[in-house]
Amino acid sequence: MTLDQVFKGNSISEVLELLNQYKEDAKIIAGGTDIIIGLRNGKITPKVLIDISKIDELRQIQVEENKIIIGSATTYTQIVENELFDTNLYGFKKACRLVGSPQIRNKGTIGGNIANASPAADSIPPLIALGAELNISSLRGNRKLLLEDYFNEKEDNRLRADELLMSIEFEIPKKNQVLGFSKLGLRKALAISRVTLSSLIGIDDDVNIENIRVASGSIGKYPMREREVEEALIGKRFNSEILKIAASSLQSSMDKRLVGRSTYPYKRRAVVTLFEEVYKDNLSYFNEVTL
């Protein structure tokens, strides 16, 4: 490791000052579950480390009007133990429960999953499906960014050296909406996902799909919206008929994106089953809730 100096951040303003002072030489650490590996194998070589894991404002889950705001240093365990995510947001909780192991969930943070931009980040597809936005701050000011725009080819939107990811926020889904999630890993715990899929589906009084957002993880370079399947399903009646339509449009997206990769045939098959599982989750919620 190459560290000369380490700081325990006591407040957001102190952290922003430090980032402004050290810029590229500094790295933020919260849970440490990704960054310590990077420090040890020499993939990252900062001179300064700034710990944000003890700043209360960054590690809380708040409800403001119709929004949930999650501080960037909130751990997976905090999310899993919060009953806000028990009903129609269960897909998010399910994704967070499948991250790593108890030890990793006790330390790993939602902000770290985003800032490190892993293609296999479990928590990201549900947040993209929710239309989540990032709140980013620096001494230069604040900016808001759609999470789905954070991940792109150009990397223009990524955090700059003097910026701190403050929180992630999204609108609380309405009673007629539900978030589903499904993951394919090679074992139950400590499994890096091979493919993940999440969808937010809202139905109207006639049980037609009124609004839909689908997002995937590990199918491509970063987590992303699956617009082709969204377009195919909008307005359709919510029943098992949609499974066929979803399968063919998801596979058509795979055909465009993954051809030539060794995992292509495997993932092309896997997305179909994952969508079926997400559908079952959604269905059981709609069956339980009287709209």
Partner: protein, 160 residues
């Protein structure tokens, strides 16, 4: 730089290097070698300790981040020369072969039982899912956790 922390009930003020991890502090600086380093990547759980009430991989925490925290390692479980009920249960159930994963396994079990004193088998499985064992397997570890729950209950009854 100096940090202050409580380990196994004892107050420490120690001089650390900025590049040190918690496991380096525990093992190399303080000689608490019961905590093992396996993979060094947060996969195997051999280095599990309890930090402020939660199980963590001590290879995934920087030493300076532990400033002001309260840490329990495997060395801190014994009380008045007597083994902790979880340790006794591991011996009774024959849950230890090579032993390398056991300190971490026991700390995860303790973190689980501290939060949920009465977990079912599935919950125990989940509780130790961050600890890899390559020789004894997991069934004996789960049996030990169940036995530990019994011993803890008997202890509570005797005290009452």
């Amino acid at each position: 730089m100096f940090i202050q922390l409580v380990i196994n009930g004892i107050n420490y003020k120690v001089d650390i290097d900025p590049n040190m991890r918690l496991i380096d502090l525990l093992r190399d600086k303080l000689g608490l070698v019961g905590t093992k380093e396996g993979c060094g990547e947060g996969e195997c759980g051999a280095c599990t300790v309890i930090m402020d009430g939660e199980s963590v991989n001590s290879c995934m925490v920087m030493a300076f981040q532990a400033d002001g925290s309260n840490i329990t390692t495997i060395e801190g479980l014994e009380e008045n020369g007597e083994l902790h009920p979880i340790q006794k249960a591991y011996m009774e159930e024959g849950s230890v072969q090579c032993g390398f994963c056991i300190p971490g396994m026991i700390m995860s079990t303790k973190a689980l039982l501290d939060k949920h004193p009465n977990p079912n088998r599935e919950e125990i499985r989940e509780g130790i899912s961050g600890n890899l064992c390559r020789c004894t397997g997991y069934n004996k570890a789960i049996n030990a956790a169940e036995r530990a729950i019994e011993i803890l209950k008997e202890g509570a009854k005797n005290e009452a």
